[in-house]
């Protein structure tokens, strides 16, 4: 679509931000010029994880020179409420505190240093209450958010009676700190008539706007939220950017001064939620041919102290409980368990990876107990067209088997197996582990209502174009994809097009940039806007060239009549249209067709399409130290007809690395008092250059793609993270090569070097 464009310097096969990124010119919230009189904020957070808040003493802090004013819950003019799905989360603690470092007071001072110093002088009188950090304990005590959810297909009870093999077990997966390198932040500027303009590092500009309007008790139209880009989000800024936006807005609203808050790293780590940890029970039944006939699971999700997005995350765990396997009889129930941790939240995969880890654990246990390779069970159960998912959707254009088969052939699985076996036979201190990880991920927000987007396009009288959508650029390259869409429809050089910031006054009521579906939704809305203008331009061209509009096409900035180039060029065409008073602006809208879901029956067709893939992992475990490395990860991935291979490949490589981190080294540790112990980069380890696989080989599966995807190019943000689950099992398999008598007591990710050592030398 872009190769017809020969003019210009912008190459849309590359990320359009590349040049600014490598020269340090890209602008993030903390880089915005600051206005004179700006106040800087700091939070006084609860020193305990649970308790009755008796009183707060601000007196010492208020006396500190440079402190402008300190705010508590009683200063909030509107609703002291930031809960996105369930209204259960105050902005500032009022009567109770529910997690360690829960914001209680907000200091505004003339410098960041003074604000932070003042926050340290605040004290609170709190009567402690019992602290729960474990989801099963919360469940036992009845601390559940929302209703439990149950997905059922067939009759698992009856099916288990017919199974040749039945296995039961437990699988836990840990939290994951987002660790976007740009911490949370926002900057509010008071405007006239009580309006506010807020720059926010958020995936959800509308969520920030709506939250602020509620907290201040003023209409949404008084709040303008603008997002240039994010220094990483990964789900952590989908709902949890709202608190900081609301704080700067509160201060700006009450003081009529600009207010800025960029969190310090340790505050960000302590005060924000993470990927939901899960503890789950499973029961799997197979027939004599290793077909999975029945599967039951109970998922205990650790939601933390408020619902946040956890109810929606819980739902996606159920949607992905079968990964890419067909299981005819399923019964699975999921509980969102309320604990005294910071509210856990979205993280790339959104509960899907947590559900998939459980079925992969079940398969691993079954295979190892039966003395066969898990690959045998995985292969025997891959989804094919016509199979039904537990939620009633019928698999269509399923690529589970094609990805699996191609990965085996292309990467010569037989040879890899032999190499691993030979290596293990000839080495004592080092052992290799092999694991395959097929994936399947549903694309769409599972909340059907959210699957729509809008775009606003202006063609200016000089032929340049401004494009606004609801998509937030956070490194996933969505702005480049939006530019590709506009360049394709207008057939102009890409440098004519500017992708504007994401702004709630230009594009309203946006869904957050999330669920991997932002390019699909906003790109299709943008296409709708572009075609409206294009249709008007064709009328102008037809009248000028004395022909009919249906004979007009645009290519390379030139008007063609019946595929023959005319003399009419883009700039002249636009000028003519402008002079003829033609509307050169359009807004587009898109809402995903065909999708629906009924929560009362838990059945429907919630996803526009699915993304598939298979990864082959080979790891090497150092059996003296318990450390491990990944020799190679070889992937066949279903990109559809990728519209930008470099960007899509980058998402795959990066998602894979993040998934490996979650499953292996990233260990979120809270002590029994609910205090985060892994609260800095020195105590929380994420993948560095040493941790990435020595070889990453990604092959693009050849398919036609899906019509439901933008330019048939499938969504790519989240699915690759799911491959990380394979890292866990490849390490487990290497440990078992050293100590064949060992099986994990239960599956417990991340598999840190400490756990590896325990496995290596377990008796």
């Amino acid at each position: 679509m872009i190769k017809n464009i020969t003019k210009g310097k912008v190459d849309t096969s590359r990320n359009i931000d590349s040049h600014n990124h490598v020269t340090g010119r890209s602008i993030y919230v903390d880089d915005l010029p600051e206005l004179q009189g700006t106040l800087y904020l700091a939070v006084f957070g609860s020193p305990v994880a649970h308790g009755h808040l008796r009183s707060v003493d601000l007196s010492a802090a208020e006396k500190l020179p440079g402190v402008f004013r300190i705010f508590t819950a009683k200063d909030i003019p509107g609703a002291n409420q930031i809960g996105g799905i369930i209204p259960d989360e105050p902005l500032l603690a009022d009567k109770e505190v529910h997690f360690h470092e829960m914001p209680i007071a907000l200091v505004a001072a003339e410098s960041e240093a003074i604000a932070m110093e003042a926050a340290k002088l605040i004290t609170a009188e709190i009567d402690p209450l019992p602290v729960i950090i474990d989801p099963r304990e919360a469940f036992a005590k009845g601390h559940i958010s929302g209703s439990p959810r149950t997905f059922q297909l067939g009759d698992s009870n009856k099916a288990f009676a017919e199974c040749a093999h039945i296995f039961e077990g437990k699988a836990d997966s840990g939290g994951q700190e987002h660790l976007y390198i740009e911490t949370q932040g926002a900057y509010a500027i008071p405007m006239e008539n009580g309006s506010l303009r807020i720059a926010s590092s958020t995936q959800g500009p509308t969520a920030v706007q709506r939250t602020i309007a509620g907290v201040l008790g003023i209409p949404m139209h008084k709040i303008e939220v603008d997002v240039t880009r994010l220094g990483g989000g990964f789900g952590g800024k989908e709902d949890q950017a709202s608190a900081w936006g609301a704080m700067v807005a509160l201060v700006a609203h009450l003081t009529n001064k600009p207010a800025k808050f960029v969190l310090h790293r340790m505050d960000d780590m302590r005060m924000t939620g993470k990927r939901n940890p899960y503890s789950s029970d499973y029961k799997i039944g197979l027939d004599k041919d290793y077909k999975i006939i029945a599967y039951e699971a109970t998922f205990y999700q650790n939601s933390g102290a408020a619902a946040d997005l956890s109810p929606a995350i819980l739902e996606r765990t159920l949607f992905h409980l079968n990964n890419s396997y067909y299981i005819p009889n399923v019964l699975a129930t999921a509980y969102s368990c309320r604990t005294n941790l910071p509210p856990n939240t979205a993280f790339r995969g959104f509960g899907g990876p947590q559900g998939m880890f459980v079925i992969e654990s079940a398969i691993h246990q079954a295979a190892n107990t039966l003395g066969i390779d898990p690959i045998v069970i995985q292969e025997a159960n891959l989804l094919k067209d016509g199979d039904v998912f537990p939620y009633g959707q019928i698999a269509k254009e399923a690529e589970a088997i094609s990805c699996w088969e191609e990965s085996k052939e292309r990467f010569d699985l037989k040879k890899i197996r032999e190499e691993v076996a030979n290596f293990n036979a000839n080495n004592e201190a080092l052992k290799k582990g092999l694991a395959l990880m097929p994936i399947c991920f549903g694309i769409s927000f599972t909340n059907t209502m959210m699957n729509n987007a809008r775009a606003l396009v202006h063609v200016y009288s000089d032929g340049s174009i401004g494009v606004s959508t609801g998509a937030v650029e956070m490194g996933q390259g969505v702005n480049t994809k939006m530019l590709q869409v506009a360049a394709h429809y207008f057939a102009v050089a890409p440098e004519r097009i500017k992708i504007e910031s994401t702004n709630t006054t230009r594009v309203a009521n946006t869904s957050p940039t999330a669920a991997s579906s932002t390019a699909d939704l906003n790109g299709k809305a943008l296409a709708h806007a572009c075609t409206q203008i294009l249709d008007r331009l064709k009328e102008v061209a037809a009248s000028s060239l004395d022909t009919s509009a249906d004979k007009i096409t645009l290519k390379n900035e030139t008007v063609y009549v019946d595929d023959i180039a005319s003399d009419l060029q883009w700039e002249q065409l636009i000028l003519s249209a402008f002079q003829q008073r033609v509307n050169l602006s359009a807004k587009g809208h898109y809402s995903t067709p065909t999708i629906h879901f009924d929560k009362t029956t838990e059945k429907g067709h919630p996803f526009a399409y699915h993304v598939y893939g298979t990864a082959i992992f080979v790891s090497t475990v150092d059996c003296i130290r318990g450390t491990y490395t990944f020799d190679a990860v070889k992937i066949v991935h279903d990109f559809g007809a990728s519209m930008n291979r470099m960007i899509d490949l980058g998402q795959t490589e990066g998602g894979l690395v993040q998934g490996i981190g979650w499953m292996t080294m990233e260990e979120v540790i809270y002590d029994e008092t609910g205090r985060l112990r892994s609260d800095a980069l020195s105590t929380y380890k994420i993948p560095d250059i040493y941790a990435v696989p020595k070889e990453i080989d990604v092959h693009f599966l050849k398919t036609d793609g899906s019509d439901m995807a933008l330019f048939k190019s499938k969504a790519v943000g989240e699915p690759p993270l799911l491959y990380g689950v394979g890292a866990y099992f490849s390490v487990i398999n290497a440990v078992r090569a050293f100590n064949p008598n060992w099986m994990p007591e239960f599956y417990d990710a991340p598999i840190t070097p400490e756990k590896v050592l325990m496995g290596l030398y377990a008796i």
Partner: protein
């Protein structure tokens, strides 16, 4: 507080600040060069990497007292408007950046590496870059880009 003279990207600056102020703050807030980023504040992420007399440093943890009289180079000082540094070119060719936030620090570490090792081995690359964290996970491309810049 006091008048502190700094040399940044070949220019002299006099700023009125406390000697204990981290260099990163001075460069971003006083000098106005915002390409270097705050990531962690404890020299564990590398987003604030600059050069001091050619050596890569974590400017969030270097006080102004230590930077006086030294030549400081930031991401803004390694290329020109017309010609990017070879490492920056390689970064674009290999399409390294995703969100971009850590990348100025990554590039400054890579530039320092190539000054001391014109053709670094994989081990030397890993050792030089280990202190620069990228949450988008662009490490594979960072390795490729360093090799490309070394050849170029």
């Amino acid at each position: 507080m006091g008048q502190i003279k700094l040399s940044i990207n070949g220019k002299s600056y006099t700023i009125d600040a406390d000697e204990s102020m981290p260099l990163l703050w001075a460069v971003r807030d006083f000098v106005g060069l915002t390409g270097s980023k705050f990531g962690c504040g404890i020299a564990q992420c590398g987003a604030c990497t600059m050069h001091m007399d050619g050596e890569p440093i974590r400017s969030c943890s270097v006080p102004l007292a230590s930077a006086k009289g030294k030549k400081i180079t930031t991401i803004e000082g390694i290329g020109t408007e017309d010609k990017l540094h070879a490492v920056q070119e390689a970064w674009i060719e290999e399409q390294v950046p995703q969100c971009g936030y850590c990348q100025s620090g990554q590039i400054m570490s890579a530039v320092a590496l190539l000054k001391t090792h014109a053709s670094p081995t994989d081990e030397q690359i890993d050792e030089a870059m280990q202190g620069n964290i990228c949450r988008c996970g662009t490490y594979d491309r960072i390795r490729k880009a360093i090799k490309r810049a070394a050849v170029g």
